[in-house]
């Protein structure tokens, strides 16, 4: 069958290649766990709070288990042991475990062992039900106050202080924002723990903490009711704590998360194995909690050239989709990322950008897609910059993007002022209103520049996917095929947090999410 630009068979071929590419990593994922996955398990049981030195309790406990060489049985198992030692609360469990001589602790008799696992499994099921209830409450609010039509206008706040962020987020929502993102403090992705509590100091953004999530969601719930329009909240599940952030976000009823299978590897130099394992668990949580993920392909074309590397975006989207589907995510949850980043000094860039956005839409018809504004070639002439952003607004509505990050005319100068957001929202609303349905009015000629460019880019994406299938993902990343960034399998940060599961490894949350 044929459709716009390319045939359905060609798209199916890309999808099959992506599946072959991600296959080998699932063996790695099944055999191993990470400190971050185990901390997530403990958080889910309700282990919250920090120790006397400010370290999160989940870190203290997991580090203790790791040092004793017993973490490979799963933190859930040891949580169960603590309960059997008479722990009366999660905090008490942590204290008992850190004090216990884990190295010499003998296995329980078989019957007791079985009972322990059954008890912990029952508790996990209860916690999963509670999470689902929280998600249901969010769905009810969404139902009561429907969201505006797409593209959903996504705005960023980044003051460093969660309480100032709340003021800015409310103002943005009042001016028409549909999604609020709280940018994280610079380098949080490299912290191997999730900071605790409400925070008022951050650099380039605000720390992602469970309490900050709660504060912001509460404010937006309030704003949604006032505006009679549900306003979504998103944050960043990337870096060394992907799955912990995913859990905190799910629990606090966030709506979206940046979550990419390769972003951490390429742009934060986080170890490959660590990332593959963490992304899987985090995406399982997103799937269960009905979170939309946003992938980070747009970043490839801020490092590499957007014209030359357009095909890497498409190839990576197929790979990200494959990882996501295998973690149980549905198509409506896939905010695959791309952007309006071709050098505006070139001729015909509007045609090229339309071509790329139409191609992405063609390949992923049921995904919401996440469209990013120009950043790399932004100029400090705010008047030009504003006009430049407006063209991205047009392409977004033309190609039915689900989520559109609005460009800021002061990009490349400072973090957005309140007025910058207002101006961006006003013109994006105008473009969306003015041009909605334009795709149904104009047919793109199959022999024209837009179609030929799309076919060319898709052809190169197939070539890249074929190379990855033949030589493996690891080799392709090693050659710098994505975003011009080269990484090695055993390089990067966080490899020491990866460990092989013991034969009797126990993780009831994973079992439940995988349908066992």
């Amino acid at each position: 069958m044929s459709g716009l630009f390319i045939t359905d068979e060609q798209i199916a071929q890309a999808r099959a290649l992506a599946r072959d590419i991600t296959d080998p990593t699932f063996e790695l994922i099944a055999k191993n766990t990470t400190v971050s996955v185990e901390r997530t398990v403990l958080r889910w049981f309700g282990v919250d709070g920090v120790g006397t030195m400010g370290a999160p309790l989940v870190n203290l406990m997991v580090d203790r288990l790791k040092a004793a060489g017993v973490l490979n049985k799963g933190a859930a198992y040891w949580y169960g042991r603590a309960l059997r030692m008479g722990a009366s609360s999660p905090l008490d469990a942590v204290e008992r475990l850190t004090a216990a001589p884990l190295e010499t602790l003998k296995a329980l008799p078989a019957g007791e062992e079985q009972q322990l696992r059954a008890d912990v499994r029952a508790e996990a099921e209860a916690m999963v039900r509670e999470l689902k209830d929280r998600v249901a409450a969010r769905q009810a609010l969404k139902h009561e106050f429907p969201m505006a039509p797409t593209p959903h206008k996504y705005l960023i706040v980044a003051t460093g202080n969660i309480f100032d962020d709340v003021d800015q987020a409310r103002a943005a929502a009042q001016a028409g924002a549909d999604v609020i993102a709280v940018i994280r403090s610079t380098a949080q992705s490299l912290l191997d723990y999730v900071p605790h509590g409400a925070t008022t100091e951050g650099y380039g953004g605000t720390y992602a903490t469970q309490e900050n999530f709660r504060i912001m969601r509460e404010a937006l719930d309030d704003e949604s009711k006032k505006l009679k329009r549900y306003v979504q909240l998103t944050n960043y599940s990337s870096g060394l704590c992907m799955s912990e952030i995913a859990f905190c976000a799910a629990w606090e009823r966030l709506d979206m998360l940046l979550n990419d299978a390769m972003y951490g590897i390429l742009f934060r130099d986080i170890n490959m194995r660590r990332t593959f394992i963490d992304q899987y668990f985090s995406r399982r949580i997103c799937a269960m909690a009905g979170l939309i993920i946003n992938t980070g392909e747009d970043n490839y074309i801020t490092t590499a050239d957007a014209y030359d590397a357009a095909h890497t975006v498409i190839a990576s989207q197929f790979i990200n989709e494959s990882f996501a589907r295998r973690a149980g995510l549905a198509d409506w949850q896939l905010g695959l990322g791309h952007s309006y980043e071709i050098d505006p000094h070139r001729p015909e860039t509007l045609l090229l950008e339309l071509s790329q956005a139409m191609l992405v839409r063609r390949c992923f018809p049921d995904a919401p897609l996440k469209y990013m504004p120009p950043t790399k070639h932004k100029e400090t002439d705010i008047f030009f910059s504003h006009a430049y952003d407006v063209m991205a607004d047009l392409v977004a509505v033309w190609t039915r993007q689900g989520i559109q990050l609005l460009g800021m005319m002061t990009e490349a100068m400072h973090t957005p002022l309140l007025a910058d957001r207002y101006v961006a929202l006003k013109s994006a609303s105008y473009l969306h209103r003015a041009a909605r349905g334009i795709d149904e009015e104009f047919t793109v000629r199959e022999d024209g520049k837009i179609a030929n460019r799309a076919r060319f880019v898709f052809g190169k994406a197939i070539e890249l996917l074929s190379e990855c299938q033949k030589d493996g993902m690891v080799a392709a990343i090693g050659r710098g095929r994505f975003g011009d960034v080269k990484r090695e399998e055993t390089g990067g940060k966080g490899l020491d947090g990866v460990l092989e599961k013991a034969p009797d490894y126990f993780n009831p949350f994973l079992d439940i999410m995988e349908g066992r």
Binding site: A158, G160, R170, A171, A172, Q174, A175, T186, A187, S189, L190, G202, Y203, G204, G205, F267, R268, D269, T302, T303, D305, D343, H345, T375, K376, H377, E379, T380, A412, M413, H414, T415, L417, L418, A419, Y422, V423, K426, D484
Partner: protein, 264 residues
Amino acid sequence: MTTPTAREKHLIRAYGDRRDDGIIQLSFTLPVIASEKAKEAAKIYCQKLGLTDVKVAAVERAAENYTFFVVYARSAVVLDYNEIDTPEIVIKKKSFHDLNAQIEEEIARRVVVFGACTGTDTHTVGIDAILNMKGYSGDYGLERYPWFEAFNLGSQVPNAELIRRAKEKSADAILVSQVVTQRDVHKENSRAFIDEAKKQGVLGKMTLLLGGPRVDHKLALELGFDAGFGPGTKPSDVANFIVHQVLQRMGKEQKGAHYEGEPT
């Protein structure tokens, strides 16, 4: 007694559509509900800035309690353009080809440059624009220059590591990019870089350059760098400056000379 030499004045005012009309445009937000009163407040605010003939062109409800204004007004401020002091231009910026040829001839070895976003900064857009092959705005990056050897270490590189790596290769210049500026973190980290440069003994030996959207030459000099490059800098600006500095260190060019395009 000496009398100051009489110098011809060149008086200028802001130009709207007629000479000396002094018209400027500005926009700002006040944290009040949009109303006639808010509009009046914006007008008074501008008058307090010393502006006259204030026309509040737009009064926009940016949010429940915030109003955004676009204003046109006149300013009586006059400048004597002849009193503005700018560095003398003594060196012409060379083309890609000519600069490479000059290095080959006068330096006779490749000029080694290291660059990174140091500290916690993760934004490589600036350093990439200057160093990577592709360059910026049609201007080739330093990697493309056959007579430059450029190393881009990427983001979140510790200051000490960048300096250590540069020393290993006897680099001529180090480029530090600082994009995140919240709470002046860029200044703090830049100071830390200079402290580290002193500790490792490269200060005054290598050319140390600072770049970023909120960086200017004056700030960079204050912090202890040899130059600062702000928004709009092209890779060729940086390349020319480095060559000019290397030649100075070799004694082939006059100290204190400036080249065309050098940050002022």
